[in-house]
Amino acid sequence: MELKNAVAGTLESGDIMIQIGPAAQGLSIELDSSVEAQFGRQIRSLIAETLQGLGIEKAQVKAVDKGALDCTIRARVTAAAVRATGKDVWKD
């Protein structure tokens, strides 16, 4: 799937900002989280899982997390993916 650079989310407490862009191969996730020690592993796998669920296998992701819950992370990743692919997963 063709990707443009896109972003979703904010740097507010309780939110996560997802930047997504094209990659030659694979999924790379760079995470900066205020809860890295306890939840970094879970957040990375949730981002990967959400993207794969949307059919995105090749992407570069930068995420800045301020303690977001899973539902927020899923929503921000989905929104960034929709903006990057132009494919509205809610409508299409």
Partner: protein, 472 residues
């Protein structure tokens, strides 16, 4: 004047007989605005002192310059109620070879009184002093430069330290009366430009919350107080720091007016809220170990029924006369509460020290009813947990935990649970709260603690409660 004790800081230090390895002490009544600790330790470093032990009533963000003095070997030991900011971060990551000793305010008072914590030289900031050392946390002169109100945490130091240096920014004519620190305890008086920035007294842990969740928690906690069985004419109350626990006062006030109930006294850190209730006649007397804002500091200066109290008389577990023994209700905050009602107020869930014991242990243990107010989650950080990161206040002394998902009552207080249930409050099992938190955030990975001990948490009776390990 004759027998004046005035001297420069350097001269006062020389005169004190301070030597390497000795213990120096400070109070934290200026909180985030304190200038005395940095000023004195800078001077001690300049004069070539090494291996000093710093016994502070508490330390905060403003004391980050101590990091250099620790690296240079000027300070090699610290005891305090709390640590925040860069200094706390550096110590959590292993800055000091010797672990920091954490004590509650009452515990520190007891340790000083018993000699367990011996102070060689106390450096005590004061907003006014005369040339003999009668000193106060406020000034009645027109040259007043600062105000911190109560000097409660400095009084044990003044009384028990071998040598006392008063540092003031307003030298007033003798006699500076009424005084907090008596000239009888003071060896030297040093005049400086500024001992502290009074506008920063209410910085740090104290904030007036507009957060809707804090307000919800405060309203729930007020209902607990009102239906506790202790809410009757002549009751007494204390609130800790933290938005929700401070806001509770506002909602209790409404009920007091409605039912015509008056409190006999409010204790501890005194805030503008408490002063307002006192001035309205709803609280008879204020017993103030620490003025939490400028309104409280002004009040203690002007109101004879707003009484300063030393840390020992406030909260010592070893002194039968201490005020906490007469306290009915205390409302406290927490970073974490576990399913055994144990509380952590010192170490963040990232393993980094970021708080203070304060009077938590003391008031929880000796009050008739201790109420913790805290949300289930702060962002992704759980506050109700299977086991606290660090044990600060034992669960046996905690009676009620108020969260936005329900109120948990210690199984040791079934009569309290029954009263709250009858009042229509949602009483839940604390295990269910912990499970609810886990269902929302998942199970956190364990923190990367190392083996080295960077902090020791004392109980108020002088026993060791827990150890804080280095974080990687």
């Amino acid at each position: 004047m004759r027998n004046s004790k005035l001297s420069s800081l350097e001269e006062a230090i020389r005169r004190s007989g301070l030597r390497d390895g000795m213990t120096i002490s400070f109070h934290h009544h200026f909180r985030g605005g304190d200038k005395v600790v940095n000023m004195v330790v800078d001077k001690l470093a300049q004069m070539g002192f090494k291996d000093l032990k710093l016994a502070a009533s508490s330390l905060s963000d403003v004391h980050a310059p101590l990091i250099e003095h620790i690296k240079n070997g000027v300070i090699t030991g610290i005891s305090t109620s709390g640590l925040r900011g860069e200094l706390a971060n550096a110590i959590s990551h292993g800055l000091m070879a010797e672990p920091v000793v954490f004590r509650s305010h009452g515990g520190r008072g007891s340790a000083i009184a018993s000699g367990e914590l011996h102070i060689d030289v106390a450096f005590l900031g004061a907003s006014s002093s005369d040339e003999l050392g009668n000193a106060c946390g406020f000034s009645r002169s027109e040259n007043a430069k600062s105000i911190c109100g109560s000097l409660g945490y400095a009084l044990p130091d003044a009384r028990y330290a071998d040598h006392v240096v008063v540092i003031t920014d307003d030298l007033v004519a003798y006699p500076n009366m009424p005084m907090s620190i008596s000239a009888a305890d003071v060896e030297s008086v040093v005049v400086v430009d500024s001992v502290g920035d009074s506008s920063k007294i209410s910085a740090g842990a104290i904030r007036d919350s507009k957060n809707p969740r804090d307000i919800l928690l405060a309203k729930q906690a007020a209902k607990v107080v009102i239906n506790s069985g202790l809410f009757e004419d002549g009751f007494s109350i204390q609130t800790g720091t933290g938005g929700a626990s401070l806001a509770v006062v506002k909602y209790i006030r409404e009920s007091m007016l409605q039912k015509g109930i008056k409190a006999s006294f409010a204790l501890g850190g005194i805030t503008a809220h408490m002063v307002k209730l006192h001035e309205e006649g709803l609280i008879g007397k204020l017993i103030d170990v620490q003025s939490f804002d400028k309104v409280a500091a002004e009040s203690i200066k002007n109101d004879p029924f707003h009484q300063e109290v030393s840390a020992v008389e406030y909260a010592s577990g070893m002194h039968k006369g201490s005020a906490v023994h007469a306290l009915d209700i205390v409302i406290l905050s927490a970073l974490e509460v576990d399913v055994d009602f144990n509380v952590n107020v010192l170490v963040g869930s990232d393993g980094i020290i970021r708080g203070a014991i304060g009077g938590h242990q003391d008031t929880a243990a000796d009050s008739a009813l201790s109420i913790i107010v805290c949300p289930l989650l702060r962002g992704r950080i759980p506050c109700i947990v299977p086991k606290v990161t660090t044990l600060i206040t034992p669960g046996s002394t905690i009676d009620v935990v108020v969260t936005e998902y329900g109120i948990a009552v210690n199984p040791g207080r079934p009569e309290v649970a029954e009263r709250l249930r009858l009042a229509g409050l949602k009483v839940v099992d604390i295990h269910d709260l912990a499970a609810k938190a886990t269902s929302i955030i998942g199970t956190p990975d364990p923190l990367p603690f190392g083996d080295r001990v960077v902090g020791i948490v004392m109980n108020r009776d002088g026993s060791v409660l827990d150890k804080i390990h280095i974080i990687r």
